[in-house]
Amino acid sequence: MMGFVLFLGLCFVIGGLAVASNPSPYYGVLGLVVAAVAGCGWLVSLGVSFVSLVLVMVYLGGMLVVFVYSVALAADPYPEAWGSWGVAGYGFGMGLVVVVGLVVGGVLELLVDEGTVNSGGLLSVRSDFGGAAVLYSEGAGLLLIGGWGLLLTLFVVLELVRGLSRGAIRAV
């Protein structure tokens, strides 16, 4: 079991590596999918299954769908792929940074000694979906502020991209 969770952690890091060293967004988004699924699995191993499903739904079902639609409108005819030498070098360099960070940060020793957190028992009733329930009842202020933040993001993006060739994104 612990080996599977470690594998999920490894997949998360590799997915992040793939996103960071992407040759073009179309291939980087594959790394994002791997990272999101691995993150979902890791959260399930921690016991908070509701939050992991929310993560998958928002990431893969919301963010990635919007990304795919917007990328479909502005597609590169000949995108650079993983096989080219520049991308391989970049990926290798990023991989080196990650491994050095893991070794220096002492993460590998921690993973060997301590293992993962077990949050069983009655606590798992309150921790994830209980928190979401509080967000909609006593924590309504935070809900409103979060909703305002999302609305603000919409307005910011609309303001930043309006204007076609006279606006911020002049290539369109």
Partner: protein
């Protein structure tokens, strides 16, 4: 820009600042910081010039990375201590990460590289908001966590900020970049005294905000953006330029102007805390910024500039200065005799 959209962005700036200032949970502080970051992006890129877009991109990337670091430090602390209180940050790794996160938010060296270019790419009023209002939430977080920050790192960042703020401002001809470096060196002064007396940090910040607001608004009235324009700006508003001279010298920290008060009190507090070498070092490094303030002051009051003007005095006078500049100039120049009263307010 669309007036309704402008209203939403300004309102979100106020909302974000208020949320962070009034928060005691790290998630609320982070939410306020993120709302501030998002809301100011269209204001920076208002002119849609490539430099403005680049400034907005740089601002967003650094501030988002810093907000992520704030979130990581608070989550590490919550993992180890079980609570999210801002004033109860105790885990050493969290304190270290938070110090660098706030340094990145404010623009302390070595995380200052975004600041001059962001200020240069934005219009003058947005630059004013970036230098004063957007520094208020991170400054508040710094004040609230002042006992949990890493003193060595903070002192090193402060002295490096005073040094680089002074040195890199020396070769600049664009006034917004000069003001960015002046902001970086003032932030160094604010950071060095934080561990010993956080109220002096706040005092320094308030007085710096008033003086910088005065400078930005004065420059906005005469629409001056570079040194060569400043050389002939006295024809547009002679008395305003004279007051700009005094405000710049106040920013430099010369007695008997207001800007001397925070430097004086900080040096006194540092000396009382057995940090006399640090006090000497930061005062000497402020001499570098004094040079470019003096150069700016020289350019404001010169009446025979090296390049030609068509006239000595414009026959059309500009619209009169608004009241805000008058009040702020008075405050930023003449407040030193009232120092005991100021100390009771802060």
């Amino acid at each position: 820009m669309n007036p309704q959209a402008n209203l939403i962005f300004i309102a979100s700036l106020l909302l974000g600042t208020t949320i962070t200032i009034s928060s005691n949970h790290w998630i609320m502080a982070w939410t306020g910081l993120e709302i501030n970051t998002l809301a100011i992006l269209p204001l920076i890129s208002k002119s849609h010039h490539p430099r403005a877009i680049e400034a907005a991109t740089k601002y967003f990337l650094t501030q988002a990375a810093a907000s992520a670091l704030v979130l990581f430090s608070s989550m590490t602390n919550a993992w180890h201590t079980g609570q999210w209180d801002i004033t109860q940050l105790t885990h050493p790794t969290s304190c270290l990460i938070l110090t660098s996160a706030i340094a990145m938010k404010l623009g302390l060296v070595p995380f200052h590289f975004w600041f001059p270019e962001v200020l240069q790419g934005s219009p003058l009023t947005t630059g004013l908001i970036l230098s004063t209002a957007m520094k208020l939430p991170p400054m508040t977080l710094l004040y609230m966590t002042s006992s949990s920050l890493n003193p060595t790192l903070l002192t090193i960042l402060a002295i490096l900020s005073a040094a680089l703020g002074g040195w890199m401002g020396l070769n600049q001809t664009q006034i917004r970049k000069i003001l960015a470096f002046s902001s970086i060196s003032h932030l160094g002064w604010m950071a060095i005294i934080l561990i010993y007396n956080p109220k002096l940090t706040l005092l320094n910040f308030y007085l710096y905000a008033v003086m910088t607001t005065t400078v930005f608004l004065t420059l906005n009235t005469t629409k001056v953006l570079k040194l060569s324009t400043l050389l002939t700006a006295w024809t547009k508003a002679p008395s305003l330029n004279t007051m700009l001279l005094l405000t710049l010298l106040s920013l430099a920290g010369l007695p008997p102007l207001t800007g001397f008060l925070p430097k004086w009190l900080i040096i006194q507090e540092l000396t009382k805390q057995d940090m006399a070498p640090a006090a000497t070092l930061i005062s000497l490094l402020s001499l570098l910024s004094l040079f470019f303030y003096l150069r700016l002051a020289y350019c404001t009051t010169i009446t025979l500039p090296p390049h030609t003007t068509n006239h000595m005095k414009q026959w059309r006078t500009n619209k009169p200065t608004n009241t805000a500049i008058a009040i702020l100039t008075t405050v930023s120049v003449m407040l030193l005799p009232a120092s005991p009263m100021i100390l009771t307010i802060v």
